[in-house]
């Protein structure tokens, strides 16, 4: 497997990219390259959702037992995953925990038949076939059912001092299934094609891809029935199935999660009540744009209104007539869309405050999809910059970044972006001077080198859109999330074509997802070169 260490290992400070968005997406159109993939382990969240769907367990067992996933920025990056003793020990314990709870809480619904006794092999095999198909996301062979059915001996044997019955065997089957590598990893076998190292995926493998992409969990019975019926190699069939899936609340949760990782606000660093209010605000806007009203996706960044409660009305100094949660217009001023939300504005801070450099990195990496290289080793990124004239003002202090040519080369591409958002603090509140320094007036003017100047989230969003950087980047981000790793350069032409379709659709985000799954590439896999 190819090793891809993330380029964005630098914690802080600055860096530059030689490339522009044109460099990454302006390459001549090449033949489509099938996305390389390796058996992906379910992320903790995917595992939790899948287990909840399987046995009704709402206790987030994977999150409780397993070591946290790495976010790069997505939690499903298979390059980061490696089997470890810590993982295997946790899975062993998690499976026992889940199986025990399942036999307490939802036993009859899980088993699905009423056993005549501990030795009822018909009911047991029926359960194994049904549960196993859900757990392994494909029908089980008779041999496999035999293997699992052997555990029924623990239901029937007579041991003094042991209370066992039919469900003892059921619990053991659940334990084994939850530790089955085909449950834990998305193993794709497919059938060979005439292209080297490329396989065409089977119906159940395609359905598994659809379910984890659109719902963040394994396919349910209804989806597996569709896979059983076959035909998912057909693009239109996939599109139609996916379209139905997008109408489900699970798709909403998945799209919300994608955004929270992409834009970095999955663990908002504010007190819980405020953090939850921010999350509700952002969730409402995404639902409105992507689902409820199927708006032009760019409105996520340009929306003139926001959904707030009394806490946020106070926080943002916005009017909220009646005091009950409602959509309110921003009115005149610099605010628009998600870049005005306290959720997004709380991220990429530094030294307990907003960081013009970090916000520049945020815009460059997350909204332009540029690589920002680490700072040179001799740059001190751990102390706030200091001004040469002794001024405590941020604008003067960050001027230090422009004093040497080597600093300015990179910071010139970063800091001015952040300064365009400086009027908005880490909670999205408007401010006219630096925190604690009334003499440090914030002029709020920012610039994206080569594109133009702006002030505030609204003008920044307008520039991201008019320069056609945002639509290309959101497509790339979604692709990276979908295939479970950062994209390679030779894969970017596909993204460019997808971006063109995205634009042609009037920026229909769900349409972009549907285009992705109905592309031939979605039903194929490429083996990594050795």
């Amino acid at each position: 497997m190819r090793s891809r260490f993330p380029m964005l290992v630098v914690l802080a400070g600055f860096a530059c990219s030689d490339g522009t968005i044109g460099d990454t997406l302006g390459a001549p159109v090449a033949a489509p390259i099938v996305f390389e993939s390796v058996a992906r382990r379910l992320s903790l969240v995917e595992l939790d959702r899948t287990i909840e769907a399987l046995v009704g367990d709402t206790t987030s067992p994977a999150t409780r037992f397993l070591t946290p996933d790495l976010f790069t920025p997505y939690d499903n990056d298979y390059v980061q995953q490696q089997p470890s003793r810590a993982l295997i020990e946790a899975l062993d314990q998690m499976a026992a925990d889940v199986a025990a709870r399942a036999m307490t809480d939802h036993r009859d619904a899980i088993v699905g038949c009423t056993p005549t006794g501990a030795g009822d092999t018909v009911c047991m095999r029926d359960f194994i076939a049904r549960f196993g198909k859900r757990a392994l996301r494909r029908p089980l062979s008779t041999d496999e059912i035999d293997d699992y059915a052997a555990l029924q001996s623990y239901a029937t044997e007579s041991v003094s001092g042991v209370t066992n019955d039919f469900y003892t065997g059921v619990a053991l089957v659940i334990r084994a299934m939850l530790q089955d590598p085909e449950m834990l990893y998305r193993v794709e076998v497919g059938v060979p094609t005439d292209k080297p190292r490329v396989t065409q995926l089977g119906d159940h493998e395609i359905m598994t891809r659809l379910a984890f992409l659109l719902w963040g969990e394994a396919p349910d019975d209804a989806l597996l029935a569709i896979a059983d019926a076959g035909g998912l190699a057909n693009a239109q069939t996939r599109r139609s199935v996916a379209s139905g899936m997008l109408a489900d609340s699970r798709a909403r949760a998945q799209v919300q999660r994608f955004h929270s990782m992409w834009l970095g606000y999955r663990a908002i660093p504010h007190p819980p009540a405020l953090a939850q209010a921010f999350a509700r605000e952002t969730t409402a806007l995404i639902d409105d744009v992507v689902f409820d009203n199927a708006r032009d996706y760019r409105e996520l960044f340009t929306s003139s209104r926001t959904f707030i409660d009394a806490t946020l009305a106070t926080n943002y100094a916005l009017p909220l007539p009646g005091g009950t949660p409602a959509w309110v217009e921003y009115g005149a001023g610099g605010r628009a869309g998600i870049l005005s939300h306290g959720s997004v504005l709380s991220t990429f801070g530094k030294f307990s405050d907003t960081s013009p450099t970090q916000r520049g990195i945020f815009v460059r990496t997350r909204l332009f999809c540029e690589e920002v290289l680490p700072p040179p080793p001799d740059a001190n990124v751990d102390a706030p910059p200091s001004s040469t004239d002794g001024s405590p003002c941020k604008a003067n202090r960050y001027a230090q970044h422009r004093e040497s040519a080597s600093c300015a080369a990179c910071h010139g591409r970063l800091d001015p972006i952040g300064f365009g958002l400086e009027n908005y603090d880490m909670a999205g509140r408007y401010r006219t001077h630096d925190d604690g320094y009334e003499e440090c007036t914030i002029d709020g003017r920012g610039e994206i080198i080569g594109i133009g100047s702006f002030s505030g989230p609204k003008e920044l969003a307008d520039m991201l859109i008019s320069s056609h950087t945002l639509d290309a980047c959101v497509t790339q981000q979604m692709y990276s999330f979908a295939i479970g790793r950062p994209l390679t350069g030779d894969e970017l032409p596909q993204v460019e074509r997808a971006t063109q379709r995205f634009a042609a659709s009037g920026y229909d985000f769900r349409g972009m997802l549907l285009d992705f799954v109905s592309d031939d590439l979605f039903a194929q896999k490429r083996e990594p070169a050795q």
Partner: protein, 508 residues
Amino acid sequence: MSIRLNRRAFLRSSGGLMLGLPLLDIMLNNNGTAFAQTGGALPKRYAFVFAGQSIGGDNWAKNQQRINGANVTAEHFVEPAATGAGYALTTPLQPLAALQSDFSVVSRLRIPYNTTSSASADVPAGGAYRDFHGGAAGPFLSGMRSNAANFRARGKTPDQHIADLYRAETPIDTLTYRCQPVFYISGYDFSGRQYISYRGDNQPVGAQTQPSVAFNAMIGAVPTGDPGENAAIAFNNRARKSVLDLVADRRQRLLTRVGLADRRRLEAHFDEVVALEKRIADLSTSGIDACEPPRTVPTDPPIGGDNAGSGSGTIGTNTGYSGEEERATAFADLIHFAFKCDLTRSASLQLTTFQSHMNVFGITTSLGYPIRADLHEVGHNGDDDTRGQFAVSLVLQWHIARYAYLLNKLKETDEGGGKLIDNCAIVFAPEGGHGRQLNDGVTDNQTHSTENMVALVAGRAGGLMPGKHIRTSGAHPAQVFLSAMQAAGYTGNTLGEVTGNIPELFTT
């Protein structure tokens, strides 16, 4: 090799019975486990406790600091003023006051670097690529030079060397624990900062972060109960084994159908399942019950969210704290028990990660001096009121208190005619030192430095003679680790590209 042994150690290793010496005592076994059966010498154990911080503040001399708003000039630096025995304990070492005769301080350690070139190809043997956090981690852990700022070790770490040594003799080859579960900075993640154990060149070992899982993988693997319940336990153990057998048996069916990349990944998974089965079997015959294990499963503290600003200097809440202290206690309890019961002879405990952004507001508040910053920023800025040597010393003291907790438990435990700690080599070392900045090679009094590093070695295994301060002239930290490895039975005289121990650790 030039390891110097004291008389007792020499006699012990010579294998002869010497009346009048403690050898008779060490033939005895208090807990009725493995050694009584073999009649051999008591086992030697190695553990490494790691702190993700340096030992001095940026631009503050060793004796300068700001405490609660007042500038103070007084010693708080970790390195004691006097050498030898009976030195005055510095602020960070205070938790070890009652253990002063049980550990040694080794100071003025230095990871070499090229003073004239920062090129990757010019890094000297055992040296650091000149980018502190990412470049010093590798040579620190493995004695192998780094060639990039990628936090990766390019060789096997001491805990894994010791694991190799005793793998056939104990149920668990080594314990790998980490107390800081998440990175805390929005937009970024560990990228290698979370590893202190490597099986080889760029082969990191993922650590356990959940105390309850660690507990149940060891003590919980061998349930206890009154005799009436034993039948149920045996039944459950058999059932668990059947489940794992079934999972392991899926290997052939699956691996024949997939490509090479999938196969490698899945094989590694299956290998760990098989290893788990073996560990459970070995643990179940290891006599855990006779060692009187703790039976209360530790609680996993909640995981904190992102910090309010990377490198915050004014954090005023405990966001981004995940109960690292409670995790450290739970893991230390397990290491202690595993050593006591000879379940393993090697362990690593990562209290905080390299370049740790753990919020220290809560833990320093409980020490009486709230610092509104995260751990990494303490070395650079502290907060406006408390910074410099005192701030760094205080958070180092917090780390050393976790180490002291483990040492105290080892010292309270009888073994042979002495104490368990007598048969241990327990190392503590923070990530960096205080001196010339590694990155620019120019600025002094910097926290991003591999100069003036300090390590602690506790225990008397293999002839260690603790109780003193040893001031080296730039010995490599790997030489300290190597000394502890040798004390624990390692016969080589190199760690990575670094050769030779610290002889004074073995002399009076």
